[in-house]
Amino acid sequence: MKQLLALIMILSAFSVSADVAGQVMIDQPYVRAAIKQQRNSAAYMHITNQGDNAYLLYAKSPVADSVELHTHIDDNGVMRMRKIEKIDLPTQQAVTMEPGGLHVMLLGLNRDLKTGDEISLTLGFSDGSEKNLKVPVQMRYRAKKKAKQESKTLQDKPKMITH
């Protein structure tokens, strides 16, 4: 009997504690405009976790056959995109998903994504909770804030490298 009481108490404790979906704030979500022929697009946003450490585990959307979490690695100018299993959402921190970095990859678009449209996107978190978003379609790229890069000319280059 005692055990049953303990179980009930544990369960009720769970039910009152807020789930991850309730503890994350999503800012400025957008998905890149794309035509169906491109097959893919990506969604970006800022996620701020006001709860305990958690993960973003998956995402899904009716506009794509599959949705994955991806990142980009800039390897000396060669961009390498890779699938990742989860995105860490450390407590009280904002995680930025942006072009050239972390993103929600929409694979196998079943329609054009036109500027001004809105798509449904569901984010799934480590505790099993989900958050449904309406994400606007935009043709824009927030340029990463970084030191201005100078373009190079043949003359600027010390010597040609032949391989």
Binding site: Q38, N40, N76, I161
Partner: protein, 197 residues
Amino acid sequence: MKNYKPLFFWIVVICFFTGILLAQQYLKKQGSDLIPGSGGNFTLQSDRGPVSLSDYKGKIIALYFGYMSCPDICPASLWNLSEAIKMLTPEQAEQIQGIFVSVDPDRDSPHALGLFVKGFIDSFVGLTGSKQEIDKIARQYSVVYEKVPLKDSAMGYVIDHSSVIYLIDREGVLQYFVPHDTDPESIRDDLLKLLER
């Protein structure tokens, strides 16, 4: 009589791994030195038949290598370029030809490429060709690209690639290498330099 067999075995093993390390260094170097070859003319397929760079002699060419399944790096570069062109006067803009070369001919047809690039600026041209043709052009422009299978992904494979906008003057001579994620204002300044020549 000593048995030299184990020694020989270890020499072979050491040589093998040294070779791998050297090859990795070499490939890394290729990645870090996006130092182009001298560029030059080439011909590939568009949605309206074959197109050569030399067809645009007298215009300034902005050339980019990528692939359509690329989620953001390639479209972002094309978008930055198109924003830069839109900052010019219509007369100046008319003298710029944007060209996107797909290094993923297995997935990107000339027809689809045409639809894709016109989403940025109507005059942009999308080109591709056989792997042999693309490899030759990649050498001309020192483009690094590599097909990489993506395990457990619906993408099947991705293409790791260098991301540079090549600016070519009216005579067809390669002049500037614009690193990817360069802002539109800086690209416009480079275009203006070439327009003034």
